[in-house]
C-alpha cells in the first residue's frame, strides 16, 4: 500500500469542542500486560483521534479527553482489552456541525 501523508492529529482534535469529565475516566486498559503481548497494536492506528499512544517505555497511554465516542476500540482491539463506557451524561464531545 502506498504511504499516506503524515498528519498531526492534534490539529484536527483542536477543531472539536469537549466537556471533559475530570472525575470519570471512561476508557481504561484492562490489563497493561496484554498490550505488551499485542504485537500489531492496531489501536494506535484505527482510533480516529489518536487516543491511544505509546510512551517512551512502550506502554499504551489513553488520552480519553480526545475521544469522540465512536466505539471502534471497543470491538477492534483484538484482545478486547479496553474497558469501554460512554462519558457521563453531558460530558465528552459536543459537535458544532456534525
Amino acid at each position: 500500500m502506498k504511504p499516506l501523508p503524515k498528519v498531526n492529529i492534534d490539529d484536527k482534535v483542536f477543531t472539536l469542542k469537549y466537556y471533559v469529565d475530570e472525575e470519570f475516566v471512561h476508557l481504561k486498559i484492562k490489563d497493561p500486560r496484554v498490550c505488551k503481548e499485542c504485537l500489531e497494536k492496531p489501536c494506535l492506528s484505527f482510533c480516529p483521534v489518536g487516543v491511544y499512544r505509546l510512551d517512551r517505555q512502550g506502554n499504551i497511554t489513553v488520552g480519553y479527553q480526545a475521544c469522540v465516542e465512536c466505539g471502534s476500540c471497543r470491538v477492534a482491539c483484538p484482545f478486547l482489552n479496553i474497558e469501554w463506557h460512554y462519558p457521563r451524561g453531558g460530558y465528552g464531545v459536543a459537535y458544532k456541525f456534525g
Binding site: 498528519v7 492506528s45 480516529p48 471497543r74 470491538v75 451524561g89 456541525f97
Partner: protein
C-alpha cells in the same frame, strides 16, 4: 430526578429514530420521556449528510411553512466521482425538474438538524431530558419495565435513578449496548460489520462553493467518491455541499483500518490532497473534524426487534442502506412504526411480546426489510467483486483519458491501446462477466 418516576413510554436517544418514536407516542397522548446523553439532541451525532424530505414531512407536515429550514442546500446534482490517483471520471445526474418544486433531499448538519427536530418533539409534548445517560434496563419477571440512568435519585440517595415505563424504545445508535442488555441480541458487532468514517467540514472563501462546483445559490451537489478515495479498498468517500462549506469524508470497514494499520485521518488527508479535491478545497479552513461508525451488519446481525416491554429502532437495529446513503430516513420510519406499536399496546393495556410484535410485523412488510434482504446480496457481490473499488475506477479514468486525447492520432491505434489496457487490467471476458452479474443483481431488485 425524584424517587420513582413513571411514564407511559421512555425513549432512549435523541437522534432521528428516537425523536420520531417519541413524537408519535406524544401525539397520541401518551406521557413520553426521551433521554439523551448529549448536552442537547444532536451533540453526539455526525453523518454525511443528506436528509430526505419525504421522511421529514411524515413527522413535520408543515415543514415548508418554517421560517428557516434546518438544512444547508437542496440536493440538485448527485452521483459518483471515480477517482484515479490524479484524475476523475464524474458520473452525476441533474435535471431541470429537480431545480423546481420542493427538493427531494437536502444537505444538513446533525448538530443543527437534530435540535430542530427535538424542538418539534417538545412541541408535540415530549419531555426531553438531555445530559442523561441510560446505563441499564429495569427488568422484572422477564420483562423490561423501565430504565436506570446515571443521575442520582435525589440529594440523600445517591443510587442511580430509575424511571419506570411499560414500553421502552431503544434508539441508541450504532453502539447498541442497551439492546444487548435487553437480550435482543446476544453478541457485540464485529469490526467487519461496521464502517468507520471520518469527516471534515471545510469553510471555503465567500462564493467559492458555487464557483468551484458549478452551482447556483439554491443548488447543491452530493457525490460519493470511489477508487483512490479508499485506496481501492471496499468503502467510499463523499463530498457534499453546504451553504458556505463542504463536507468531505471517507470510510472503510473498521476491520480494514485495524488489519492494514491505516490511520483514518491520513486516509482523509490523502483524499484532500487529490489534485481534483485540492483545487476545490484551496484556501479552505477546517471548521470541524469528527468520526462515527455506520452499522453494516445487515440481516446477519439484525437483532430481535422487540421483546416484552422493549423495541429497538434505527441504527441500533442496523437499519441503514450504505449504498444508497439511507439512514436518517430509515431511523425515522422505524421510529414511527415502533411508536405506533407502543400506542396500540397502551390501548390494549398489554405489553408482552405479542403486542409489541406489531412493530416487527410492520417493519418486515415494509421496503426497509426488503432492502435489507437485497442489500445482503449486493454486499456479497461487492465483496467478491472488489474490482468495482480498485480496478474499475482506475480503468475508467485511463480509458476515457486515452479516448478523449485521441486527436491527432490514428484512432485504430488508440482503440488498440484501450483494449490492451482492458486486457491487462481485467480482461474483456471478466469485464463482461462483471457487468452481467451486476445486471442480474439489479434485475433482481
Amino acid at each position: 430526578m425524584g424517587k420513582e418516576l413513571e411514564y407511559q413510554v421512555v425513549v432512549v436517544g435523541g437522534g432521528p429514530g428516537g425523536l420520531a418514536a417519541a413524537m408519535t407516542c406524544a401525539r397520541a397522548g401518551l406521557s413520553t420521556l426521551l433521554l439523551e446523553r448529549g448536552r442537547f439532541a444532536g451533540a453526539k451525532n455526525l453523518f454525511g449528510g443528506v436528509v430526505y424530505t419525504e421522511s421529514i414531512l411524515s413527522l413535520v407536515p408543515d415543514l415548508f411553512s418554517e421560517k428557516r429550514l434546518p438544512f444547508e442546500r437542496p440536493v440538485t446534482e448527485e452521483g459518483w466521482w471515480l477517482l484515479s490517483e490524479k484524475g476523475v471520471v464524474k458520473l452525476t445526474h441533474t435535471e431541470a425538474e429537480r431545480m423546481e418544486g420542493p427538493p427531494r433531499a437536502y444537505t444538513a448538519f446533525r448538530a443543527r438538524f437534530d435540535p430542530w427536530l427535538a424542538q418539534k418533539a417538545k412541541e408535540a409534548g415530549v419531555l426531553l431530558v438531555p445530559k442523561t445517560k441510560v446505563i441499564d434496563l429495569l427488568k422484572e419477571e422477564g420483562q423490561v419495565k423501565g430504565v436506570v440512568v446515571d443521575r442520582p435519585r435525589d440529594w440523600e440517595d445517591q443510587e442511580p435513578a430509575v424511571v419506570r415505563a411499560p414500553v421502552v424504545i431503544l434508539s441508541e445508535g450504532v453502539n447498541r449496548l442497551l439492546a444487548q442488555k435487553a437480550g435482543l441480541i446476544d453478541r457485540d458487532f464485529k469490526p467487519q460489520e461496521v464502517a468507520l468514517s471520518v469527516k471534515e467540514v471545510v469553510q471555503l472563501p465567500k462564493g467559492e462553493v458555487e464557483k468551484r462546483l458549478g452551482l447556483k445559490e439554491n443548488q447543491g451537489l452530493a457525490v460519493e467518491l470511489l477508487g483512490e478515495a479508499t485506496l481501492g479498498l471496499p468503502g467510499s468517500g463523499f463530498l457534499y455541499t453546504n451553504t458556505t462549506t463542504v463536507s468531505l469524508g471517507v470510510g472503510l470497514f473498521l476491520s480494514d483500518f485495524a488489519q492494514k494499520g491505516i490511520k483514518p485521518y491520513e486516509l482523509l488527508e490523502n483524499l484532500k490532497r487529490h489534485p481534483v479535491l485540492a483545487r476545490i478545497l484551496e484556501g479552505g479552513e477546517t471548521l470541524e473534524y469528527g468520526a462515527h461508525l455506520i452499522p453494516e451488519w445487515g440481516l446477519e446481525g439484525l437483532p430481535k426487534l422487540s421483546a416484552p416491554g422493549v423495541m429497538v429502532v434505527g441504527d441500533a437495529a442496523g437499519l441503514v442502506n450504505p449504498l444508497f446513503r439511507e439512514g436518517t430516513n430509515l431511523a425515522i420510519y422505524s421510529g414511527i412504526m415502533a411508536g405506533k406499536a407502543a400506542v396500540a399496546a397502551h390501548e390494549k393495556g398489554h405489553f408482552g411480546s405479542s403486542s409489541l410484535a406489531l412493530y416487527e410485523e410492520t417493519l418486515k412488510s415494509s421496503y426497509i426489510y426488503r432492502d435489507l434482504q437485497y442489500f445482503r446480496k449486493l454486499k456479497r457481490y461487492l465483496q467478491e467483486n472488489r474490482a468495482w473499488f480498485d480496478t474499475y475506477p482506475q480503468l475508467f479514468n485511463q480509458v476515457l483519458g486515452l479516448y478523449l486525447s485521441a486527436q491527432g492520432r490514428a484512432k485504430e491505434e488508440v482503440f488498440r491501446e484501450i483494449s490492451k489496457l482492458i486486457r491487462q487490467r481485467r480482461g474483456m471476458v471478466n469485464l463482461l462477466k462483471d457487468a452481467l452479474k451486476a445486471f442480474k443483481l439489479f434485475k433482481g431488485w
